[in-house]
């Protein structure tokens, strides 16, 4: 048994609105081990991002709290690096400079100039961006931007890597490619990862555990599914695998049979995935 690494304990989150306080999250509790890859899945508006923001320290939980390696989280910091959905690279800096900003901030006092340079280049190589290191975000494709975003997060050597729908804005082929890269990196570095996703296949393919969330208001964890597929995983082989399909079936049935799609917040991509399953 690995040691307890990240403890999300009884986290509730209420937002003030003109008509009174709105309870977005209700007592979310989750313990994550070191090196574990956990996906949060649920319909839009169920508070997945809120959980991630609380762990990142960008939001303060109204009740409960988050403990990372024995320390309570109450502000954002580089030990919980975030990969945002829309890459959020600084558009006036090159890929290299974007990573450099993070590396200088985290290792400015401990690493020498040339060590930092090597470390930046190493991380960009990890995401296969060494050929476009000195290009600015508007000169590279969406997938490449997201790669740089991941490199920036990895370069901080975070204790937990938080990914907020990292591939949501990418086309299906690029997304598949990015998932492969992420598995490869995960295999090498064995990071602790929390990833938010809408995509059932992505969740099953990448995760050690899938956390399914109920719909808001007062969203909470509905079911946790442990995915015990052998690694390395191969998407083409798994497509026919009965185990894989059983996991997939479990997630789909949770999302579409036990949880209703919130009427006004239904997203097109989800309904397509539903149609496929049916």
């Amino acid at each position: 048994m690995k040691k307890e690494h990240l403890n999300i304990s009884q986290v509730s989150m209420a937002f003030p609105t003109p008509t009174g306080s709105f309870l977005a999250l209700d007592k979310v509790s989750l313990i994550i081990e070191e090196g574990e890859f956990v996906s949060l899945i649920g319909h839009s508006g169920c508070g997945k991002s809120t959980v991630l923001n609380v762990v990142a320290g960008l939001h303060q939980a109204t009740e409960g709290g988050v403990v990372l390696d024995g320390k309570e989280v109450n502000e954002p910091g580089p030990d919980r690096a975030v990969v945002f959905q829309n890459h959020s690279l600084l558009p006036w800096l090159t890929a290299y400079q974007n990573v450099e900003l993070a590396v200088k901030q985290v290792f400015g006092k401990t690493k020498s100039h040339s060590e930092m340079k090597d470390w930046i280049e190493h991380n960009l190589e990890l995401v296969h961006m060494e050929h476009a290191m000195h290009k600015r975000p508007d000169e590279i494709s969406g997938g490449m931007k997201q790669r740089v975003g991941i490199a920036r997060a990895l370069a901080m050597q975070p204790k937990v890597l938080l990914m907020d729908e990292p591939f949501g804005a990418l086309d299906a082929l690029t997304r598949a490619h990015m998932q492969e890269s992420l598995m490869e990196i995960q295999n090498e570095l064995n990071n602790t990862v929390i990833m938010i996703t809408h995509d059932v296949d992505e969740a099953v393919l990448l995760s050690d555990r899938i956390v399914m969330m109920t719909n808001g208001p007062a969203a909470t964890i509905g079911e946790i599914l442990k995915v015990e597929l052998e690694r390395p995983r191969n998407r083409v082989q798994l497509a026919d695998d009965t185990e894989y399909n059983r996991y997939r079936q479990r997630v789909l049935s949770f999302l579409y049979e036990r949880q209703h799609v919130p009427v006004e917040k239904e997203t097109p991509r989800l309904s397509v995935a539903g149609a496929e399953a049916a």
Binding site: E75, P76, A81, V82, F84, S88, L90, P91, W92
Partner: protein
């Protein structure tokens, strides 16, 4: 078919050239024609309102006067040198003085004075407005606090500021050997007071409308206050800051002419005022030359800012005009 395509392409290009070159020229001809025709109808106490031809003559007169004045200046210094050389030849111990030339400034000297004055006022305004704009953009409370004051002071005319500025400068700027003349300081400060608002407001809006993801990146990286401003806030609001600066500079240039008229700063404003008071038959023509010059210089200032904006803009895809 290839040939017809090529021909078609050539025709399209020719059309484009006509559009971009010929249309402005035609418009200008019509404008000059209308001006000429209507000016001849107006009889003032200083004679007929000058048309384009009369104005052109006055422009070349001003140019001639400029060179004549320069010749006089060189002659003046040559005479001094000769006299001094003679003095030294008679007595090597003699004290030598070189007196500065005190002829009146020409039209072109006045343009330079105006440019220097507006530049001073604009730089001071930017140095005040950008930092305050950043602070107001970062803090909602500060924005709410400062906004009424800004809205109140923004529409005040330079003519209302000028008497106050004049009195304050006379009272505060006291020195036996002043580096700048009072009229220069007064005009520059009036420009500052009137032109800082667009920069301040645009900077504040630019900073407050920053991409939320970028703010989060800064938080996750735990950038300190200064690094956050320098690395994230400033570059991301640079386009809006430049929009503000361009507006400020054009307002400053407009305000300057009025300020110089009343403060008697020896620039284009004073030129117009002096010609008006002078009231010779040439005066109206010379004033129109000044009007056109003011327009041209204003246009060039705006283009210069646009060039700087393009140079410093990270978003090369943005269309700047």
């Amino acid at each position: 078919m290839f040939v017809t395509n090529l021909k078609g392409f050539g025709r399209e290009q020719a059309n484009e050239l006509i559009r971009s070159m010929l249309l402005p020229v035609i418009a200008m001809m019509i404008f000059l024609g209308l001006w000429s025709a209507s000016a001849s109808q107006v009889e003032t106490s200083l004679g007929q309102l000058p048309g384009p031809v009369a104005v052109y003559q006055q422009a070349s007169n001003l140019l001639d006067e400029h060179f004549a004045e320069r010749d006089k200046e060189t002659a003046f210094y040559q005479r001094q040198e000769k006299r001094n050389a003679k003095k030294l030849a008679e007595n090597p111990e003699a004290e030598i003085k070189i007196r500065p030339y005190t002829g009146k400034p020409t039209f072109f000297d006045q343009i330079i004075t105006s440019l220097l004055t507006v530049f001073t006022g604009f730089v001071i305004a930017s140095m005040i407005a950008i930092p305050i704009g950043i602070l107001t953009g970062l803090s909602d409370g500060l924005y709410k606090a400062i906004n009424p004051i800004v809205q109140l002071l923004k529409p005040v005319s330079p003519l209302a500021w000028l008497p106050i500025v004049t009195m304050v400068v006379s009272a505060v700027y006291v020195s036996d050997d002043p580096m700048f003349s009072k009229s220069y300081v007064t005009s520059a400060i009036t420009v500052t007071l009137c032109c800082m608002w667009p920069t301040l407001i645009n900077t504040a809006v630019g900073v407050s409308s920053m991409d939320k993801d970028l703010i989060n990146v800064s938080k996750v990286l735990r950038l300190n206050w200064f690094t956050n401003i320098y690395k994230i806030v400033l570059p991301s609001s640079m386009p809006m800051i430049f929009t503000g600066l361009r507006l400020s500079l054009s307002i400053g240039w407009m305000v300057l002419i009025a300020a110089e008229m009343l403060a008697q700063n020896p620039g284009l404003g004073k030129f117009v005022w002096d010609e008006f008071q002078n009231g010779s038959s040439n005066s109206l023509g010379r004033i129109i030359v000044a009007v056109i010059t003011i327009g041209l210089v204003g246009f060039m200032l705006d283009r210069t800012m646009l060039m700087l904006q393009r140079r410093f803009s990270w978003d090369k895809s943005a269309i700047l005009r």
